[in-house]
Every structure is written in structure tokens, then in C-alpha cells.
């Protein structure tokens, strides 16, 4: 097989698997699992083959015209370079892990067939986005991911939270997709082609007329997809979906797509200093805000969700300072350890029977029940907090190093303000990240109180997946010296200043949280809290669904819990209630968008009911009144009828005669 054929098969196999899974799901339940796992596994293997075949050589471009459009043609194009093939490997591996994990996690779920098919479709769309060399094809994958995320987040559609979250995810990402579409059209109109290579060539020769406008339009779509401020609100709510879906969305597919698009089109953004500064400020706000919010969340998955938002902020920050190598490096290492964190969180939720950290902190021995999840998650949290020598350290230092590079003015064409913004907020976020990672670990695994409920052994396949993802989490940092060859050639090795600064700050964050925890944990015994789903025989998905559905009822809120033993409460102080609700951004949206739309809907309803319907009713009522008037002539006296008939005939006859003679004369 040539490289091109292999690369075409990579997105095609999961797509075919999804189609077959949807068609056969009901008729042949025995085929569902192979159809879910095998195409994705094959795609992952082929993605590795493509990566090996492509190597560090010059980018491979293959294109065939899909359809003549009259103006700018749409091509079926492949563009394989270091970024594309490595991200494709990440997508393939994470998707395979998620599919394997789902066979255990959703083993009793009645809707597993459609679930697995949608995960395959999701993977296929992401692989299409990664490999494509044409913006229109990219948009196809981009939108397919949007609809798949809607279905998958709403998998537990019996619960109110999941229904609301799936709609929110769809509507908020679409809010970004509309400007994104206009951005693509504007870009193609300026460059004269949808092909990415053509666009980049046109940028290099200064052919773009409105770089700032295009960059900002594209950035809106990226903010929606990659959950950046101010369109990030859907991502924490999307935790109402099953845990493997969260892992897939957060680690490899949906949110990575936005970062990947910016990385591919970075010269377009770099052509406008204003766009870079906007990107940097956006990334800084996202990073710091999400770090604070993560410290206040009670749902373990919402903590991880806000941490994803923050890590995506790092990636966008790296792009804002013009280093896409660092951004994609962080994307890949983050994909590995965040998938591990989410899949581990799924195990914890099943074992603990709750998704609430407050409840977990009141049960002891959870770590002994699930040793595999305990060890792998511990390492993944260290990686998240960027503690050496794990993967997160290297990739985060690459980002910080790039920011420092730009801040000192060493990077060409990058505003120093963007560099400083990213550097300062990045260091601050390192502190917050370490703090919430420590808080999560302490509250989940170091609880005191009654023994954790025994929900039996976790399925082997779920633990195996955790250990499989453990490897890149530990060892991906070793790839740092090799990666520049695959990327732009800029060194990704950590620099001394930022490494010492970043690691020191992270340690400080961790230690402060530990001290706060020591201080507050004594309060836990005094305030009993927590409702645990004790159903040893139920599958993991049932425990999670119940936990999600009952969280708001038990704790009064989807996000936070009134727990005085929470170290985050002590650390955040008066900020805590605001951080728990994501700094009231949802309330702002409600004022800005929801209420005007509702008012407009009321107006439309009024116009329809009172104005349009009046005409319709009038059209019916007028003939009825006329009929009532005419009915009065119906007296029942035959002679009256005949008299009226005679009179009418006479009038007609006279009229006919008059007309005949009148025209004749």
C-alpha cells in the first residue's frame, strides 16, 4: 500500500465501522463489539504506519478535485506533515483505548451499539480534520464532530442534566462555527483556494487583504470548539455524558481540533499582530479563570473538565507566541494524560458510587479498592501539574519557554505583549493547576470516614487501558529532543529559567493545598455529607448515570457542594462561590442571549396568535356570518321561494334583453 492509500484508510475505517455498527446494531448484537474496536484499532495501526512512512521528510500533498463549484474549487486533499501524522497517532490510540474501555464501562448499556458507532464516527471525523488538506473537507469533519458530541454528551438522555448539556454543547459550539464558516470563506476569497498549502503560500507572498478580520473570525470558531473563553461554558457541562466520551472529547478529538486548525493556519494568524494579542489575552483569561474554577468544583469530572480548558489555554498561548511545535507537543502529551485521568475518574466514580469529591473525602480505603486507577491517576496528576520527569512537565515547559522567548523579544514578528501575557498567566496557572491536582488527589484518595463500598473488581479491560495510557504519560517527555525534526525544527527542550520557576511554583501550589487540606480535613467528620450509589451489581454506567442525576438534588448544585472541609474553599476564600459557578458566565449569557431570545419568542408568539391567526379566523368567520344572514331567507314557504325565483328570472331576462339591444344598437 502506498502512503496515500494508507492515509485514506485511516479516517475511512472508523467511518465504515460506524455505518456497519449503526446498521447491524440491533440485528446482530454479537458483532457490535468487534465492529466498534477493530476498525478503530486498525486505524490506529495504520496511523502509526503513516507516521513511520511519512517520517520527518517534506510534507506529502495529494489532491483530486471533488467538484467544480464555478469559483473556488473544492478538493479531496491530503496533507501529511509531522503535525498531522503525530496527532493522528494520538487520536487513533486514544480512540482505541476509549473503545476498549467502553466495552467494559458500558457493558450493560442498552444503547451501547449506537454509542460505539457514534464514537467511531467521532474518531473518523477527527482523523479527517487532521489529515485533510482542504478547508472545506476540514469543515465537514469539524461539523460531524459537533453533531456526534451532541449525541454522545446526551447519551444519558433520561437525565435532565444530560439533555441540557448536550443542547448547550451543540448551540455554544455552533455559535463559534458560524463566524468560523465566514472566516473560511473570507480566507478562501482572499487566497483564491480552499487548499491549506495554497493559502499558506498566499500568506507568505502577502496576498491576504484582511488578515486580522479573518484571524478573528477563525478564532471565534476555535474558541467554540476548543472551549476557550468566552465560549468554554459547554465543556464543564458536557461532563453529563459517559466518562469515556469525556475522555475522547477532552483528550484527542473535539477540543484538539481547534488547536490543530490554528496550528495548521498559524501563518494566517501570525500575519496579524492584533490577532496574536487577542489570542494571548483569550488564552490567559481561559487559563487563570479555569484554574480558579477547577479549584472550586465538587464533581470530579468537572475538575478535570476545567483543567482541560486550562491546558487548552496553554496550547492557545503557545500558538499566540508563534510556537506551534510547543502547542502540538502539549496537545499530544495532554491527550495522553487527560485520557488517562478521565478513564481513571470513571473507575473512581464506579468504585465510590459518587462523582462528588465531598462524598469521596468522607470514605476511606478507596485507593485500596482500585489500586490500578490509584497509581495511574497519581502519575497522571503529577504530569498535569507539570512535575518532572513526566510528560506534562516537558510539554508545559516547551510552552513556557516559547512564551519567554517571545517576551524577551527574541521571536520575530511576535508582539512582546503576547509573550508576557502568556508567560505570566502560564506561571500563575501552573500554581493553580498544581493546587487543584493536589486537591483532587487528596480528596479522592486520602479520605477519612467509613469504608468505601465494595463494588467488586473493575473489569480487566478497563485497568489494562489505564496502564496502556500510563506509558506515554510517563515517557512522552523523552520524545522532546526528537520532536523538533517532525515539527518546525525549533527546540522543545525545557529552558533552565522557566523550568525552575514553573516547577517551583507548582510545588508551592501543591504544598499550600496540602497545608490547607491538613487544616480543613478535621472538619469533615463534623459535617456528614454525601449520597453514595450503592449498587454492587449495576454496571459502571448505571452508577455514573445515577450519580449525575442526583448530584444537583443532593448538593443543591451541579458544580459545587457546601462542604467546609474543602481545602479549595479555604484557598479561594470569598472567590469560592463565584468560581464554583464558573464566574457567573452562564448568568451573563442568560442576560445577553437567553432572555432576548425568549422575549423575541414571546413577540413572535403574540404576532402569530393575535395577528396572523386573526386573519385566518376572520376568513372563516366572515362567510359564516354571511351564511347566517342568507339563512334567514329560508322561511319554508315554497311560494316565497318561487316568487323569488320568478323575480330573479325576470331581472335576468330584462337584463339580457337590455344588453342584447344595447350592444346591438
Amino acid at each position: 500500500m502506498t502512503l496515500t492509500t494508507t492515509a485514506v484508510l485511516v479516517p475511512l475505517l472508523p467511518f465504515l465501522g460506524a455505518v456497519a455498527g449503526l446498521l447491524l446494531g440491533r440485528r446482530a448484537p454479537g458483532f457490535v463489539r468487534p465492529l466498534a474496536v477493530l476498525p478503530t484499532l486498525a486505524a490506529a495501526v495504520l496511523a502509526v504506519a503513516v507516521a513511520v512512512g511519512q517520517g520527518t521528510g517534506p510534507a506529502t500533498d495529494v489532491a483530486t478535485e471533488l467538484t467544480p463549484t464555478g469559483s473556488i474549487p473544492i478538493d479531496l486533499a491530503l496533507h501529511l506533515d509531522g503535525f498531522a501524522v503525530l496527532i493522528a497517532v494520538l487520536v487513533g490510540v486514544v480512540a482505541t483505548c476509549v473503545q476498549l474501555y467502553s466495552t467494559g464501562y458500558l457493558r450493560n448499556d442498552p444503547r451501547y451499539a449506537s454509542y460505539a458507532a457514534l464514537v467511531s464516527l467521532f474518531t473518523s471525523a477527527m482523523l479527517l480534520v487532521v489529515y485533510t488538506g482542504d478547508l472545506m473537507m476540514l469543515l465537514v469533519g469539524w461539523e460531524v464532530m459537533g453533531i456526534c458530541s451532541y449525541f454522545l454528551v446526551g447519551h444519558y438522555w433520561e437525565t435532565e442534566a444530560a439533555r441540557a448539556a448536550s443542547l448547550k454543547a451543540f448551540v455554544v459550539t455552533k455559535l463559534g462555527d458560524v463566524p468560523f464558516l465566514f472566516g473560511i470563506f473570507a480566507l478562501a476569497a482572499d487566497a483564491g483556494t480552499f487548499r491549506i498549502t495554497g493559502i499558506l503560500g498566499s500568506v507568505a507572498s502577502g496576498g491576504l487583504d484582511h488578515p486580522t478580520l479573518i484571524a478573528l473570525l477563525l478564532l471565534a470558531g476555535v474558541a467554540g470548539k476548543s472551549a476557550q473563553f468566552p465560549l468554554h461554558t459547554w465543556l464543564p457541562d458536557a461532563m453529563a455524558g459517559p466518562t469515556p466520551v469525556s475522555a475522547l472529547i477532552h483528550a484527542a478529538t473535539m477540543v484538539a481540533a481547534g488547536i490543530y486548525v490554528v496550528a495548521r493556519l498559524l501563518p494566517v494568524f501570525a500575519a496579524s499582530a492584533a490577532a496574536l494579542v487577542v489570542m494571548a489575552v483569550m488564552a490567559a483569561l481561559t487559563m487563570v479563570g479555569s484554574g480558579l474554577a477547577a479549584l472550586a468544583q465538587d464533581d470530579i469530572k468537572r475538575v478535570l473538565a476545567y483543567s482541560t480548558v486550562g491546558q487548552l489555554g496553554y496550547m492557545l498561548g503557545a500558538l499566540a507566541v508563534g510556537d506551534r511545535g510547543a502547542a502540538v507537543f502539549h496537545l499530544i502529551s495532554h491527550g495522553a494524560f487527560k485520557a488517562l485521568l478521565f478513564l481513571g475518574a470513571g473507575v473512581i466514580i464506579h468504585a465510590a458510587g459518587t462523582n462528588s469529591l465531598a462524598a469521596m473525602s468522607r470514605m476511606s480505603g478507596l485507593a485500596r479498592r482500585i489500586p490500578d486507577a490509584y497509581w495511574t491517576m497519581t502519575v497522571a496528576l503529577l504530569a498535569l501539574a507539570a512535575i518532572p520527569p513526566f510528560a506534562g512537565f516537558f510539554s508545559k515547559e516547551a510552552v513556557l519557554g516559547a512564551a519567554e522567548h517571545a517576551a524577551t523579544g527574541a521571536a520575530h514578528g511576535i508582539p512582546g505583549a503576547a509573550g508576557w501575557t502568556v508567560l505570566v498567566s502560564g506561571l500563575l496557572t501552573a500554581l493553580l493547576t498544581a493546587a487543584y491536582a493536589t486537591r483532587l488527589w487528596l480528596r479522592a484518595f486520602r479520605g477519612t470516614g467509613v469504608e468505601a463500598p465494595d463494588h467488586g473488581r473493575q473489569p480487566v479491560v478497563m485497568n489494562a487501558v489505564l496502564w496502556a495510557l500510563f506509558l506515554p504519560t510517563v515517557a512522552l517527555g523523552l520524545a522532546a529532543p526528537l520532536l523538533p525534526e517532525w515539527f518546525d525544527g525549533r527546540s522543545l527542550a525545557p529552558t533552565l529559567t522557566t523550568s525552575v520557576l514553573g516547577t517551583g511554583i507548582a510545588l508551592v501550589g501543591g504544598l499550600v493545598t496540602y497545608a490547607a487540606w491538613r487544616h480543613t480535613t478535621a472538619l469533615a467528620a463534623r459535617t456528614p455529607i454525601g449520597a453514595v450509589v450503592a449498587a454492587p451489581d449495576a454496571g459502571p454506567e448505571a452508577a455514573e448515570e445515577t450519580a449525575i442525576a442526583t448530584h444537583a438534588a443532593v448538593y443543591g448544585d451541579n458544580a459545587g457542594a457546601a462542604d467546609p472541609a474543602d481545602p479549595g474553599r479555604l484557598l479561594l476564600g470569598p472567590l469560592q462561590p463565584h468560581a464554583a459557578v464558573g464566574f457567573h458566565l452562564d448568568a451573563v449569557y442568560s442576560v445577553l442571549f437567553v432572555r432576548p431570545v425568549r422575549a423575541a419568542a414571546t413577540l413572535v408568539r403574540f404576532l402569530d396568535r393575535e395577528v396572523v391567526d386573526t386573519y385566518v379566523r376572520g376568513a372563516g368567520a366572515a362567510p359564516r356570518w354571511l351564511g347566517a344572514a342568507v339563512r334567514r331567507a329560508q322561511t319554508g314557504n315554497v311560494q316565497t321561494y318561487l316568487g323569488a325565483l320568478l323575480a330573479g328570472s325576470l331581472v335576468l331576462a330584462i337584463a339580457a334583453v337590455l344588453v342584447a339591444t344595447g350592444t346591438g344598437a
Binding site: 379566523r617 372563516g620 329560508q634 319554508g636 314557504n637 315554497v638 311560494q639 318561487l642 320568478l646
Partner: protein, 120 residues
């Protein structure tokens, strides 16, 4: 004989019949008035047949048809009048008003909208 005489006679007969149909109350007299009108037509048919010198005498043939139909019609009509009289003890046409629009009765298909509007 000039055509005017039978024509005028026919007009007089027809008008008498018309007046009878519209104004008499007794059903039998109404039927008799109908006969008068039919015969006015018959008279016209014969007179114009002669005046036009029609070789086929279509007018006369048509007259025979009319007489036959009038006989059938009066048979059925008298039978109806007889039954009406037996049922109601009267053959007074003014009182046979069962088909009149009653003020209270709504039209044949009552609709929810109508009642809703009536209520409002």
C-alpha cells in the same frame, strides 16, 4: 286565424296559472294552476307549429309529450297531497314549513370554534 289570438290566450292562461301557483293556499288549487301553465305552453306549441308550417309537426308531437308528463305529474302530485292531508289534516301550503330555518337550531355541523366564539 291570426297568431295573436292564441298567443294572447296563452299569456293569459300562463299568468293565471302563475298567479295561482304563487298565491293560492290550497295545494290542489296550486296543482291545478300548474296545469294551467302547462296548457298555456301546449297552446303555444300548437299555434306556432301551425304558423310555422312545420312538416314534421314537432310542436304537436311535443304537446303530446307534455300532456303525458302532466298526467303523470298530477297523479304523483295528488297522491302526495292526499298523504300530506292524511298526516296533518290539512293541505294548506302555507303551513307546510318543516324546511324552514329554525332560529334556535345551529347549522348541521357544529364546530368548536363556533361555540368558543359564541362564548367569547
Amino acid at each position: 286565424m291570426h297568431l295573436a289570438y292564441p298567443a294572447v290566450l296563452a299569456v293569459l292562461l300562463f299568468c293565471t296559472g302563475l298567479y295561482g301557483v304563487l298565491a293560492r293556499r290550497n295545494a290542489i288549487l296550486v296543482l291545478m294552476s300548474v296545469e294551467l301553465m302547462l296548457n298555456a305552453v301546449n297552446l303555444n306549441l300548437v299555434a306556432f307549429d301551425v304558423w310555422l308550417r312545420d312538416t314534421l309537426h314537432a310542436g304537436q308531437a311535443l304537446t303530446l309529450f307534455t300532456i303525458a308528463i302532466a298526467a303523470a305529474e298530477i297523479g304523483i302530485g295528488l297522491a302526495i297531497v292526499l298523504l300530506v292531508y292524511r298526516n296533518r289534516g290539512s293541505s294548506d301550503i302555507d303551513r307546510l314549513r318543516d324546511l324552514a330555518e329554525k332560529p334556535g337550531a345551529a347549522d348541521g355541523e357544529p364546530q368548536p370554534d363556533t361555540t368558543a366564539e359564541a362564548a367569547a
